[in-house]
C-alpha cells in the first residue's frame, strides 16, 4: 500500500497555518488519493498504474498548495507573494548591485589603468566602470540569480516567479536604461540609439544571461514520484 500521507506531505510543504489544520488537509488529500487508488485496483489496474492514475488528479502541487492556502487563509496571500517573489527578487537585486559596488570600489582603489575603464552612456547620464570589476561581476551574477530563484523556489514560488526573482537585477537595469533613453527623447541627443543599444548590450544582456544561468537549476518543478511503503 503506498504511503499516501508521506507523498502528500512531501508535496504540500508551503502552508502557513497551524500543524493540526495542516495535518487535517494532508490526511484528507491522502484519503482521497487512497480511494482513487483502490478504485483503480478494483477496475483491474495494476498497482503502479493505479498510483499513476491517482496522482494524475493533481497536475501542479504548488498551485494546489496556493489554492488551499487562499481558500483557508485568504489574508495570508499577500505574505505569500512577498515571500515567493518580492523578497527573493530584492535580495537578488541587492546582492547584484552591492557586489558591483564592492568590486568597482576595490578595482578603483588599485589604480586601474585608463584602458581598463569603460564608460556607458545613456542619453541623460554616463557611468564609468573598471572593466576588470565588470568582468568579475559577471562571475558573481549567477550566484545572485541562483539566490533569488532558490529563495523563491523554497518558499513555494511558481516557475515564473522563480525566473523573474532570479533575473530581477537584469529587469531593473534594462528598465532603467529604457527609461533614461525615453527621457532622452525629450532632450535632443546625438547618437542616442547607438548609445542605447551599446548600453543595453554591454550593461544588460551579459548580466541577464549570467543571472539566468544561476537561476536555471531552480526552475524545474519537482518530479512526481510515488512513495511506496
Amino acid at each position: 500500500m503506498p504511503n499516501w500521507k508521506a507523498m502528500v506531505r512531501s508535496r504540500l510543504e508551503t502552508f502557513d497555518f497551524d500543524p493540526k489544520e495542516e495535518n487535517d488537509v494532508i490526511n484528507e488529500l491522502a484519503a482521497h488519493l487512497e480511494d482513487l487508488y483502490e478504485e483503480g485496483l478494483t477496475q483491474g489496474l495494476c498497482a503502479p498504474d493505479a498510483i499513476e492514475r491517482a496522482l494524475e488528479q493533481v497536475a501542479d502541487w504548488r498551485n494546489l498548495s496556493r489554492k488551499i492556502q487562499l481558500a483557508k487563509h485568504p489574508e495570508g496571500m499577500m505574505n505569500n507573494r512577498t515571500k515567493t517573489f518580492w523578497l527573493p527578487a530584492l535580495i537578488s537585486l541587492s546582492a547584484a548591485e552591492f557586489s558591483l559596488l564592492i568590486l568597482s570600489w576595490f578595482s578603483l582603489q588599485s589604480q586601474s589603468p585608463s584602458w581598463s575603464l569603460i564608460t556607458i552612456h545613456t542619453s541623460t547620464t554616463s557611468s564609468t566602470f573598471p572593466l576588470l570589476a565588470y568582468l568579475q561581476w559577471w562571475i558573481v551574477l549567477p550566484f545572485c540569480g541562483a539566490a533569488g530563484a532558490y529563495l523563491s523556489s523554497r518558499s513555494g514560488g511558481r516557475t515564473v516567479a522563480c525566473l523573474i526573482a532570479g533575473v530581477f537585477p537584469w529587469i531593473a537595469t534594462a528598465t532603467l536604461i529604457v527609461f533614461l533613453t525615453l527621457i532622452g527623447q525629450i532632450v535632443p541627443f546625438h547618437h542616442q540609439w547607438i548609445n542605447f543599444i551599446t548600453a543595453l548590450s554591454v550593461v544588460s544582456v551579459p548580466p541577464g544571461v549570467a543571472l539566468l544561468a544561476g537561476a536555471a537549476p531552480f526552475l524545474k518543478k519537482p518530479k512526481l514520484r510515488a512513495t511506496v511503503g
Partner: protein, 112 residues
C-alpha cells in the same frame, strides 16, 4: 472577458452542485466527486485539485462544515454537511440558476 465569464460560470455551477448534493446527505470528498460525476453523466467532473480548494472555501464562508468520521469500511474520512447558512444560501442560488437557464431558453439556446 470570455474566459472570466466561463470561469465564473464554472465556479458558480460547481458550488451549486456541491451545495445541492450536500443538502441531501453528508458526504466526504471522494464521494462528492464520484456522485457529481455519475449523476451528471460526466458533464461535471471534479479532480482532487479542483474539489478541495472549493470545499475549503465553502467551509471558510460558513456554508459547509467538515468533521472526521469513520466510513462504512471503518476508515476516517472528513464528511461535509450543509450548515444553516449553507441551506439559506442554496435556495436563492438555485433560483438564480433557474432564471439563468430560463433566460438562455428564451434566447433559443437548445437544452438550456
Amino acid at each position: 472577458m470570455t474566459k472570466r465569464i466561463r470561469s465564473k460560470i464554472a465556479r458558480g455551477s460547481a458550488e451549486l452542485a456541491i451545495l445541492s448534493l450536500l443538502s441531501e446527505q453528508s458526504l466526504y470528498g471522494f464521494e462528492i466527486s464520484k456522485d457529481i460525476e455519475e449523476r451528471t453523466n460526466g458533464a461535471l467532473c471534479f479532480t482532487l485539485a479542483s474539489l478541495y480548494p472549493m470545499l475549503y472555501d465553502l467551509e471558510k464562508r460558513g456554508l459547509v462544515r467538515g468533521r472526521w468520521e469513520a466510513n462504512s469500511a471503518g476508515r476516517d474520512r472528513r464528511y461535509y454537511s450543509l450548515t444553516p447558512a449553507g441551506k439559506k444560501e442554496l435556495e436563492p442560488l438555485q433560483q438564480e440558476w433557474k432564471l439563468f437557464f430560463c433566460a438562455l431558453n428564451r434566447l433559443g439556446v437548445p437544452n438550456a
